[in-house]
């Protein structure tokens, strides 16, 4: 047993650290620090994506055969840890983290050749069309229909909670291609050009004041059959693969620990109950960090990850929410500011009371409520843990 990094891994860490120190401009750091939503806003995200792509590290989590840098699981973790500690923007994951692995795993040669480079260059900005008004946790009940018409599908339906769809030009979606078979078996996975006639995006404003979410209406949209990934009816298999990446593909703990440290840098030393809460959050996040490393070490050793790999999203949601409510409490009245202007780093936002971090605290708190809902609610996570880890 050993928990240390090899000299090569430490050298790699130093290389990443040096790169970040130089590549993260003050504007990028500032934008990342004052982001109230889950992902960086387009102006920040595009700039950071271009820098990473130029360095060859954008798709650091993809295998070499798909164009990744060929890093081991631990190298990826080191990169994520360094990014979190340096305060790098969190890039939207819909394309890079979710669709990318689906494309290189299930896509045809033609799909890979066309879509992967455009995903990396941000020519294509992706949104995820899974949930529907009547299909949240019970995703397999989705009703968006795709009927075959020659070389096209005619798609009709209504997607919801579509993060950053207002900035996207492509949508990947689960659609029902066969209503006659059992729900899971009748689902297919389509890539939809959002410029096509019949695609309408309507904003949903969050209680946090952010505009991250949208509804997407699909009204007789003609999607080429060539833009289906995998076989007809294979959509559910692909969706499960994608959701596993969404829940466990990235280490959560480094970002949580870094945010907790940064928060206490802004608030100054906490006392009494606040100090105890901060300590408990730190311990939970440190435990999560090792829990995540245990799974990575298994993967690195070529073993199948144990059932514990399914617990991380649940824990991370709770720590995230704990940190954000701690921030509100620690800032007192200053933590209750709620300017309407977004993003918070924009010149149009009124001067903050106390500090810019305090000004964003309430919005972040509200936004973080979504953590225990997206990507499978905490209740769904508990059901998965009970089944996968305990056989219940």
């Amino acid at each position: 047993m050993e928990m240390s990094f090899s000299p090569q891994q430490l050298a790699f860490r130093d290389e990443v650290r040096a790169f970040l120190a130089q590549a993260l401009t003050p504007r990028l750091r500032h934008g990342a620090a004052l982001t109230s939503g889950v992902f960086a806003e387009p102006d920040i995200a595009r700039a950071w994506q271009a820098i990473l792509e130029a360095k060859g590290w954008l798709v650091y989590h993809w295998p070499e055969t798909a164009g990744g840098p060929g890093w081991t699981p631990l190298q990826r973790w080191i990169f994520e840890k360094e990014c979190a500690q340096a305060g790098a923007p969190v890039l939207p994951g819909m394309g890079l983290k979710l669709l990318g692995p689906v494309l290189y795993t299930f896509g045809s040669a033609a799909q890979k050749a066309f879509y992967l480079p455009r995903l990396r260059s941000a020519e294509h900005v992706w949104a995820q069309g899974f949930s529907e008004p009547g299909s949240g946790s019970d995703l397999a009940s989705l009703r968006t229909r795709a009927e075959r018409d020659g070389d096209h599908y005619i798609v009709n339906g209504h997607k919801i909670w579509t993060t950053q769809a207002q900035h996207a030009n492509r949508l990947f979606a689960l659609v029902r291609t066969d209503p006659a078979v059992k729900p899971q078996a009748g689902i297919s996975f389509l890539m939809i050009d959002m410029a096509l006639p019949g695609v309408t995006v309507r904003p949903i404003l969050s209680a946090s004041g952010d505009h991250e979410l949208n509804e997407v209406f699909l009204d007789t949209v003609r999607v080429p059959v060539a833009d289906r990934i995998g076989e007809e009816g294979q959509g559910w298999t692909i969706a499960k693969f994608l959701l596993e990446n969404e829940r466990g593909g990235t280490a959560f703990a480094p970002q949580l620990l870094a945010d907790l440290v940064r928060l206490q840098g802004e608030t100054g030393p906490l006392r009494g109950e606040l100090a105890e809460r901060a300590l408990r959050l730190r311990l939970e996040a440190e435990a999560l960090e090792i829990t995540e490393l245990r799974t990575l070490a298994e993967i690195e050793a070529g073993e199948a990850p144990g059932p514990r790999s399914v617990i991380t999203k649940l824990i991370a949601s709770e720590i995230r929410q704990g940190i954000e409510v701690l921030a509100v409490d620690a800032f007192g009245m200053a933590g209750l500011q709620w300017p309407e202007e977004r993003p918070f780093y924009d010149a149009g936002v009124p001067a903050p009371f106390h500090s810019a971090t305090a000004q964003v605290a309430a919005a972040r708190y509200l936004n973080a409520r979504a953590w225990s809902i997206f990507g499978g609610t905490s209740e769904i996570q508990l059901a998965i843990i009970a089944r996968a880890a305990l056989g219940l």
């Binding site: 240390s4 631990l74 508990l382």
Partner: protein, 335 residues
Amino acid sequence: MRFAPNDDQAMVLDMVARFLAARTDPATMAAGPMPAQDWSALGELGLFGFLLPEAAGGMGGAPQDVMLVAEAFGRSLAITPLAEGVVICGHLLGAAASSSRGDQLLAGIAQGTLTLAFARGGMISDKGLTGHLGLVRDGMAAEAFLVAAEDGGVALLAADDPRLHRRPVRLVDGSLAADLRCDAAGAALLEVPEGQVAAALALGQLAIVAEMVGAMATLLDLTVDYVKQRRQFGQAIASFQVIQHRCARLYVMLEQARSMMLRAALAPEGERQASVAAARAYAGEAALRLAEEAVQFHGGMGVTDELAVGRGLRRVLLLSRLFGGPCAARAELAA
């Protein structure tokens, strides 16, 4: 980065697990301290030598060895002097300047034929050690005491010293402690290098954390088996979502506590004490909550003295509260 035991460790663990399983009734687990003949049989198998440092005539004693063995003991809910009598006392003696008495004691520890107890408190003067040292685990069975005195010195006391007074006090897990008073008891001072007392203490506390994690695993196993088999309203109670979700929570607590334990065992030496304190703070709370839930899921049977869960709760209550428990550990981290 590797969290799995190596082949040698796996062999020792296998040996310990089989030894303990053969002597434990899984339905009730241990009702009292492990019999002396079982303890010395483990000594003959070389287990305690595995936990002692080379300087103490042992062949291991690395934090990860201590953790692995202690976790196996915790799984069986065995009541033994492992953490203090073997780990703390053995490592203190190993750190001290060699003496014939010390070597004799270490040999006894390694063979499992001699019980030592560890106490804190009292003042050392040229007349000996004086003070009320409180409740000392295994203090009645001990033939000698190692005492970390208030002034920082470490003293070795013979239990049969007439100026050493002990009164038996039963503890909640069924073990027997001594209420220990010394009135200028003859104390041989051990020369322990600075920092080594704290290091030995941290190692013993790591063993206690690992015992808790082992006990958590057993209590969760028992609970999951029970809810699958217990039927109410015409179905196994495991089919109820509220039971499934709460069991899933217990699994999360166990794995997170195990992660804290692993970090404490594998951390670089300079970070060991802080990571042991963190593990005590985390596992101490998680273990007691898990044990309480195990009792809850067993319903009326859970609060009886007839099942392993009730005994597990008592054992975990004790283990989690030693050395001040999670509150003291959090205070240590905040300092």
